[in-house]
């Protein structure tokens, strides 16, 4: 199986996920320049973290119009697996491949730290190596990381189990409040209805080696590999 890591002008996080796939997992992976229009031969498309186009106007706003994005949309519509991390998530939202938007952090500051995540849905291509309600540690590093969508969309996300990761306390408690804003604020990653497009703000590629402090993130990638090689892709 083969991964593609898309590079847009100004993309800054491509090397981190590439390193995990190639050197940690020994998978074959290519960089694909945004001007390309063809994604044939790839099984998983990754829109990497960091920044693209300086995140000018809005993170992802310009990148979504890159030539490669038409191919990404087509690839996704045909059921191909697409993973957007951080900036990649923002691009998926701007491209309407996932619902909602990401707003500026409440603190108005960039935040770089480890976060605790609760796995809300382990029955996906991306999370089948996690355990139900398991608490993971993954770094976050973003400026626009607070997820937003309208109430109707939030209901759908909830009913269809599209919320895959929630921010959580160590003891796994995610305040199960009715308050819509608080519930929104806990969302760390969502998947589309069909289950082939995942967007998340935390960085699995930054928690895939012991030397970096943990390997929880690695299991997200092995989940993908497991599913695809399992079904002989």
């Amino acid at each position: 199986m083969k991964f593609a890591v898309v590079i847009f002008p100004g993309t800054s996080g491509e090397g981190d996920v590439y390193h995990v796939l190639k050197n940690v997992l020994g998978k074959s992976v290519d960089y694909v320049w945004h001007a390309e229009t063809d994604l044939n031969g790839y099984d998983v498309i990754i829109l990497p973290a960091g920044t693209s186009y300086g995140d000018y106007i809005r993170a992802g706003a310009i990148a979504r119009f890159s030539p490669i994005m038409e191919a990404v949309v087509a690839f996704a519509e045909s059921g191909g697996l697409v993973l957007g991390i951080g900036n990649g998530f923002q691009i998926l939202l701007e491209a309407n491949l996932l619902p909602g938007a990401l707003l500026k952090n409440k603190s108005l500051k960039f935040i770089c730290k480890d976060s605790n995540l609760r796995v809300e849905n382990i029955n996906t291509f991306f999370t089948n190596h996690f355990e139900a309600d398991e608490i993971l540690s993954m770094p976050i590093a973003h400026n626009f990381g607070s997820y937003f969508c309208d109430e109707k969309t939030l209901e759908e996300l909830t009913i269809n189990q599209q919320i895959v990761f929630s921010y959580s306390s160590l003891d796994g408690k995610v305040p199960q409040v009715a308050n819509y804003n608080v519930r929104l604020a806990n969302i760390a990653g969502i998947i589309n209805k069909e289950g082939n497009i995942l967007g998340m703000m935390p960085h699995p590629e930054r928690s895939s080696e012991e030397i970096l402090g943990g390997t929880d993130g690695l299991r997200l990638f092995t989940s993908i590999i497991n599913k695809l090689e399992g079904v002989g892709a």
Binding site: G13, T51, Y53, G54, Y56, F110, C112
Partner: protein, 733 residues
């Protein structure tokens, strides 16, 4: 813009006369402007060159010392580290966000101009009294600027330091250090290439921003700088990122003869420097320079300090390939002139020659001043201070006050705004240890990075204080397991035309020289920022030291957190008591005085050796050097980081108790080790003449120091954590 006189451009009568002599005529306005920026302190190093020449700059690992855009040291396996520290003080005082952001942009350009992939940024900040609203604004603006620019480049900001002192209220210091990794055979230099090679300008369009920035940064800040505000430059990190990728691709494809970033004094300086390297001349047509604004004059184009621009001299015949690759990255790249053999800097506006001057006159003929040096009266006065005369304080509350002093307290508010993890190499992250440690993918090696300077010590005794800064940097590297390799320095001082300031400057540089040769850590790059003064006062002399070190085996790294209850706590070094220049005197007695503690560089070298042996034998479970706040605060930081307590017992033996706790005497480190390993440690320590003091043990909770059996300091973890962890946050948000 209204025409300036040569005085307004910062030239004096003698210098103007010298220019006339060189040209054999009056310079025109363009030529005058070019001289004034090239002969400014910032570009010409007028007041510093003779002193800088005395720095030790050679060593077996040094590939390039001062003189290039950045220093280069060999780290084996055909790889080298490229690094330099630079100031962006006055721009940050005027516009903190853009000033700090463009400071990062500038130092990063110095790194990839050498052909290196930038892998890390550090930042050394000096701010005023954090209770002052204006200072808070400067602080948040500066940190946001570094964060905004560095983060979007995907270069981790992995370390640095922040000190707070009212002396910096109106004169904040922003020093940024850039570090890059390069294959030795791919190092690029700023040379002009062959006669006839074209000069290609790449990147941002040229605007009116930053004109006379170099001159501006060489003048004291006064109310009139308000009028100079048009010189503020805004950064474009996206453009910088494209430049990095394009330039590294050009080098990979061996298309470049020379490369030079555009920084202070813009086109004038980078072209002159590139050309002077080979005694060449250049012919430039300003009408070819892409312009952001209408109707720019040759003068404005040649002096503009618009950011994110690079000058490239392609290999003969490869200019089209160069332009092609730049365009692929969405970068504008145009030929603006060519290298000539007449040694002249000729500026054309289309066909018309609008300026002509000898290249070397700009770069080499810059006048050099050996200023008058005079020891200030304060030096002897402070030395005479007697700490025994202090009124007694409750030392437990002193301890808590120190924990929450912003200079000592956790800097998480700062570094959580920096993406310190991107590139996934940062294995000792900000706050975790005395220096940052990065792995070098594909090798067992690691590199360690730090910046250090306690400017209060430097003020009280510039010579000793600066030796202490170099020693602390080296010690910080050794504490995380790295052998110090080389250093860079950023000399932030006041107005050198004042004898007392020049004395500080001279003494500080001598301090770097002494420490650098004693510890065998050569100086490979640096930067000078003078005239950091307002009407009221000069800043403390602040010779910031940036240092890099190497870990042959990254498995031998160590951080400062206690690891397990029951480990014994050992002080490597002496139970010193000198309180001169300490944060304790400042915070608890409102005093900045005293004799700066003695430093024995030979002992420091042995301590570093001992630390490296210990790390190699994996003896240490934690390692933290003693700096601001002394022994008590070093213990507290290790405890808080490890969320474990300690019980320490000291004997006064007639020594001053506050001295024992809070002395900032150098060459001392607190380690925690397995009790079984103590004899091993003692053995190597004896051979190296370092005293090993077993002072207590790691416990599961509470921070306790008994002296002669009496509990002097006793705090529960929560209280300490809060005081240390939330101090800055509470003041800022």
């Amino acid at each position: 813009m209204a025409e300036l006189t040569y005085k307004e451009m910062g030239l004096n009568d003698e210098e103007y006369a010298q220019i006339i002599e060189i040209l054999g005529r009056e310079p025109n306005y363009l030529e005058l402007g070019m001289f004034s920026v090239m002969w400014s302190e910032h570009c010409g190093y007028k007041s510093s060159r003779p002193l800088l020449k005395t720095l030790p700059t050679t060593g077996e690992d040094v590939i390039h010392g001062p003189g290039e855009n950045a220093g280069v040291v060999d780290i084996g396996d055909g790889q080298a580290l490229v690094f330099k520290i630079e100031s962006h003080n006055s721009p940050s005082a005027v516009e903190p966000y853009e000033g700090a952001a463009t400071g990062v942009g500038g130092i990063i350009r110095d790194i990839f101009t050498m052909g290196a992939r930038p892998i890390a940024v550090l930042n050394s900040l000096r701010l005023g009294d954090l209770t002052d609203e204006k200072v808070k604004q400067l602080f948040s603006g500066i940190v946001a600027g570094i964060s905004g620019y560095g983060n979007s480049l995907g270069i981790p900001t992995v370390g640095g330091e922040v000190y707070f002192n009212p002396i910096y209220n109106a004169n904040p210091l922003v020093n940024a250090m850039g570090v890059g990794l390069v294959n030795i055979d791919e190092i690029a230099l700023a040379v002009a290439g062959e006669v006839g090679s074209p000069l290609v300008l790449v990147g941002s369009k040229t605007g009116r921003d930053g004109i006379h920035g170099a001159t501006f940064s060489s003048e004291e800040l006064s109310d009139s700088t308000a009028d100079k505000r048009p010189t503020v430059q805004a950064g474009d990190p996206f453009m910088e990122k494209l430049l990095i990728e394009a330039c590294l691709e050009l080098i990979e494809n061996e298309l470049i003869a020379g490369m030079q970033d555009l920084g202070a004094a813009g086109l004038t300086s980078s072209i002159a420097e590139a050309a002077s390297k080979k005694g060449r001349g250049v012919a430039v047509d300003v009408s070819k320079v892409p312009q952001r604004e209408a109707g720019m004059s040759a003068y404005e184009i040649m002096l503009s300090e618009s950011q994110e621009r690079m000058l490239i001299v392609p290999q003969v015949g490869s200019e089209n390939k160069v332009i092609e690759i730049c365009n692929k990255w969405g970068l504008e790249a145009v030929i603006i002139g060519e290298v000539t053999d007449d040694g002249l800097f000729n500026i054309y506006e289309g066909e018309k020659l609008v300026g002509t001057l000898p290249v070397l006159a700009l770069t080499d003929d810059c006048p050099v001043y050996v200023r008058v040096s005079e020891e200030p009266a304060y030096y002897a006065e402070h030395k005479a201070f007697d700490a025994n005369a202090l009124q007694t304080k409750d030392l437990n509350s002193a301890f808590l006050d120190l924990l929450s002093s912003p200079t000592i307290a956790s800097k998480e508010w700062v570094f959580s705004q920096y993406d310190y993890q991107v590139r996934t190499n940062t294995v000792v992250v900000p706050g975790a240890g005395d220096a940052a440690v990065l792995r070098v993918k594909g090798t067992p090696k690691g590199i360690a990075l730090t910046t250090d300077c306690n400017s209060r010590m430097v003020y009280l005794d510039p010579y000793r204080g600066t030796m202490m800064a170099v020693a602390e940097a080296a010690r910080n590297l050794a504490c995380v397991g790295a052998k110090p390799l080389a250093l860079t320095n950023c000399l932030n001082f006041g107005n050198p035309e004042k004898p007392n300031i020049y004395w500080q400057f001279e003494q500080a540089i001598n301090g770097i020289s002494s420490a650098s040769s004693a510890l065998n850590i050569p100086v490979v790059s640096g930067n000078v920022s003078l005239y950091n003064e307002t009407e009221s006062a000069a800043i403390y002399p602040t010779p910031t030291i940036g240092m890099v070190g190497i870990l042959e085996d990254i498995a031998c790294r160590q951080d400062m957190a206690f690891k397990q209850a029951g480990d014994i706590i050992v002080l490597l070094g002496d139970l010193a008591t000198s309180l001169g220049g300490s944060e304790y005197l400042f915070v608890c007695h409102g005093l900045e005085t005293g004799e700066v503690p003695e430093i024995d560089l030979e002992k420091e070298a042995n301590l570093i050796e001992l630390l490296l042996q210990g790390h190699k034998a994996k003896l240490f479970n934690s390692c933290h050097d003693i700096s601001e706040g002394g022994l008590a605060l070093a213990l507290a930081e290790s405890a808080i980081s490890g969320n474990l307590g300690f019980k320490v017992d000291l004997a006064a033996d007639g020594k001053a108790i506050d001295g024992l706790l809070f002395s900032e005497a150098p060459s001392r480190v607190v380690v925690s080790i397995n009790s079984a390993d103590i004899s091993l440690l003692q053995e190597s320590a004896i051979n190296l003449g370092i005293s090993v003091n077993i002072i207590g043990e790691v416990t599961s909770q509470d921070l306790i120091i008994n002296i002669d059996g009496k509990a002097i300091i006793s705090s529960d973890m929560e209280k300490a954590q809060q005081a240390w962890g939330e101090a800055i946050e509470c003041m800022m948000d």
